[in-house]
């Protein structure tokens, strides 16, 4: 199974967890009790910032997003600072730090100051439970899926605080919208994830990866509808473009960020990308099999596979951002309650039935592929049927105007000219 690398040894590069564990245990033998954990936390913070936050969130996130969007918009994107413009995010950050952080006179200063800090913390905490590879998870708690949902509900509070405290009507609009959207989109999101939970029978992310590894199938094939619902809901919660009504720049200027400037704004901006990456990582873990790739992880380090999957998913966010217009707030609410929520319930019903059948068959391995096929067909049919039921008739919209040869008065729609 292990062709050229020896497993379970600290020098096995496929598994960085071994290395860090070896180092920790060695240090624990030398240092007095407890000190090593404080040291490890400090080193871990610095190292994760240097090794992960900086390259992944700043370089790949900001730079990659700007380059890809630039390519989609037939322009170049950042290409001046450093090789290929790679240092552009760092230059931006330095610029933002130098800028004055203005606070409006009548603003609620304390709340406005705390909001970006509260916004940043969950973005970092989210990564604690995501397995990067075998044994490479910071806190392998048994309820890690719940943990992810719980922590990711915190930034809503921070954005609300930001919008409300700035004493600006646009900000207040943004705060109102984000609060109503958080309420609406939390329920279909949880319903969609429940499908995956019921299928795997665990709420631990490592358990889900192990399930994908065991049955050699990714959750996305078993639960395609859940992934679609998850993607839409998470876009809404993260304020990504098709549904970024909370900071809709053409309507309410910048929403809850209107009065922010300098690094306070920079934290919001940077962590938006951080959340999008965390959500992508979560999706890669739950739906795309995490660090496994049908056996390829024996040859390639698992964490590389995981990062590739994460950025594949993140590319979806960028793609939708570069393509789609924005929905209106009331349309979004209607979409969540009338479309996503019923679909989520249907999906849960289907997956529960399948799970029951499956458990009666003693979790036969072949049956899961049948389920996958059935679910893909059912999902398409369900979306189509529910859209028709909601009165969706695409053929009613003519996309070309009528043409007339001669100028004159009003021509009613029925009349040919």
């Amino acid at each position: 199974m292990t062709p050229f690398l020896v497993s379970d040894k600290w020098y096995d590069i496929r598994d960085l967890g071994n290395l860090s564990r070896e180092i920790l245990e060695a240090a624990d033998r030398i240092l007095p009790f407890g000190v090593v954990y404080v040291l490890a936390a400090l080193i871990g913070f610095v190292a994760s910032f240097l090794l992960f936050v900086l390259p992944s969130q700043l370089i790949v996130g900001v730079y990659g997003e700007r380059r890809i969007i630039g390519r989609m918009q037939s322009r170049l994107g950042p290409n001046r600072v450093g090789p290929f413009g790679l240092l552009q995010p760092i230059a931006d950050a330095i610029k933002l730090i130098q800028k004055e952080a203005l606070t409006p006179t009548r603003a609620d200063r304390a709340v406005m100051y705390i909001a970006p800090i509260i916004f940043v913390m969950p973005a970092v905490l989210l990564w604690a439970v995501i397995p990067f590879g075998e044994n490479m998870v910071i806190a392998d708690i048994p309820v890690s899926l719940m943990y992810f949902l719980a922590v990711s509900s915190l930034p809503v509070i921070a954005t609300f605080m930001a919008g409300w405290s700035a004493n600006n009507k646009y900000s207040l609009f943004g705060a109102m919208r984000i609060v109503s959207m958080a309420i609406s989109y939390e329920s279909p999101l949880v319903l969609a994830l429940l499908g995956a939970v019921v299928m795997t029978g665990t709420i631990s992310l490592s358990g889900m990866v192990a399930w994908a590894d065991e049955f050699n199938i990714w959750m996305v094939f078993v639960q395609p509808l859940a992934l679609v619902i998850y993607f839409i809901c998470v876009s809404a919660e993260l304020n990504r473009t098709p549904v970024d009504i909370a900071e809709a720049e053409s309507e309410i200027v910048a929403g809850y960020l209107t009065e922010y400037s300098g690094m306070k704004w920079g934290l919001f901006y940077g962590m938006d990308i951080g959340y999008a990456l965390a959500a992508s990582g979560f999706a890669a873990t739950v739906f795309l099999g995490g660090w496994t790739f049908f056996g390829l992880e024996q040859w390639v380090p698992g964490w590389l596979i995981f990062i590739a999957k994460t950025h594949l998913f993140y590319f979806l966010f960028i793609w939708t951002r570069g393509t789609l217009p924005r929905l209106r707030a009331d349309q979004l609410m209607a979409f969540a309650w009338k479309f996503l929520l019923p679909l989520g319930v249907f999906n849960l019903l289907i997956v529960s039935t399948e799970r029951m059948l499956w458990s009666e068959q003693d979790y036969a391995k072949g049956l899961i592929y049948v389920f996958a096929l059935v679910n893909i067909i059912l999902s398409v049919a369900l979306v189509y049927a529910w859209a028709r039921f909601n009165g969706y008739r695409p053929e009613r919209t003519p996309t070309r105007p009528r043409l007339v040869k001669q100028a004159g008065g009003y021509i009613p729609v029925g009349e040919r000219s």
Binding site: F173, D244, S250, R326, L327, T399, P401, R402, G409
Partner: protein, 369 residues
């Protein structure tokens, strides 16, 4: 027990510094939650008193002013003013001059509509992609203007009695390239926006204008045609020989923002048709009638109008036989197209108001003059 959640109406200023007002223009909107219950326009931030200034300068010196009213379609503005002066003084333009004018005006319509649909898509929230694509094409047209007139935005190319310079040899291949490249771009734009469910959901049924309302509110251009009224001054009152060209008037169905968008898109196709015909049949000969620099038209008045990209652009000139106009009035299409803004926005949400404003396609330089 009533049990109704009541929200307090409050006033928000959309503008003057706002990403979607396309300049310093302000809507004072009273909103109840997200719903607009009253809208009031505040304008004049860019008022430069052009009509007064023009009374102190000669007829020829006034041409650069017209560049700066609607700075997104300076060729059309030049043309309208020159037509008014020619009508007042009874000057004939040679056929080559007319053909060049038509090509320029139609290229300007392409450039201006690029901006209009790009900015409109931006207002619906499409994050910059349509506007960038539109700008890519617009740049090519501005390059042609640069080659021909020396300026990209404020061209100052038309003259009383013709145009300022003859065409350069590079001109024709550049226009042919536009004719080749533009239809694929329009198809691309249609693929990106016209059939997009979100775009349709955002614009269909938003800012509906009935034909009666559109007529009564003096609207013109794509606003009028979007409401189903077949009215195009190029057809109804041809100038510069538009009667020789074969083209159609696109008209909409319900008069909503989406109709105005597809009308603009189709107008670009029609413009390409006109340019093709005008370029194929470009006559030789002089491009300008010689006109005295200090022109003194006979006593009288003239109202001449053209179909500018935004609608009916009229110039009303009164002459007292002096070297400068006694009265110089511009009938700005985007100013008068705003007449129905309140009727279109009230009852919708703030997001709808932005879409409606985008569909009107205002240029603040023209509103305030």
């Amino acid at each position: 027990m009533t049990g109704i959640i009541k929200s307090e109406p409050f006033v928000i200023n959309i503008g003057p510094q706002h990403p979607s007002t396309h300049g310093v223009f302000r809507i004072k909107a009273t909103v109840d939650g997200e719903k607009v219950i009253d809208a009031e326009m505040v304008m004049g931030y860019l008022h430069r008193s052009m009509e007064k200034l023009a009374e102190e300068r000669t007829y020829t010196q006034n041409i650069p002013f017209t560049d700066r009213t609607d700075y997104l379609s300076s060729m059309s503005n030049n043309l309208g003013y020159c037509l008014a002066v020619e009508k007042l003084a009874g000057i004939e333009v040679p056929p080559r001059g007319n053909a060049i004018r038509v090509i320029m005006a139609e290229l300007q319509r392409l450039a201006s509509h690029c901006m209009a649909i790009g900015a409109f898509a931006n207002d619906t929230g499409a994050w910059q992609t349509p506007v960038m694509w539109a700008f890519r094409e617009r740049e090519k047209i501005l390059d042609i203007f640069e080659v021909t007139s020396g300026a990209r935005l404020t061209c100052n190319y038309m003259r009383i009695g013709g145009v300022a310079f003859d065409l350069r040899p590079e001109f024709e291949p550049m226009v042919r390239r536009i004719l080749r490249d533009f239809p694929p771009f329009l198809d691309e734009m249609e693929g990106l926006l016209s059939g997009n469910e979100i775009f349709i959901a955002r614009t269909r049924g938003v800012g509906v204008l009935t034909p009666e309302m559109a007529t009564n509110a003096s609207l013109s251009g794509p606003m009028l045609r979007g409401s189903g009224i077949a009215w195009d001054i190029r057809k109804a009152d041809p100038y510069c020989g538009y009667e020789q060209y074969d083209f159609d008037i696109p008209i909409g169905y319900n008069g909503d923002s989406y109709d105005r968008f597809i009308v603009r898109l189709e107008e670009m196709r029609q413009s390409l048709k006109i340019i093709q015909q005008a370029l194929d049949g470009l006559p030789g000969g002089p491009f300008r009638t010689e006109v005295p620099l200090a022109l003194r038209p006979p006593k009288g008045e003239a109202y001449a109008r053209i179909e500018s990209p935004r609608g009916e652009l009229g110039y009303y000139l009164v002459s007292d036989e002096g070297p400068s106009p006694y009265r110089f009035h511009i009938r700005p299409p985007s100013f008068i197209n705003l007449s129905a803004l309140k009727e279109m926005t009230v009852g919708g949400t703030v997001a709808d108001a932005i879409v409606v404003l985008g569909s009107i396609d205002i240029v603040v330089g023209e509103i305030d003059r």
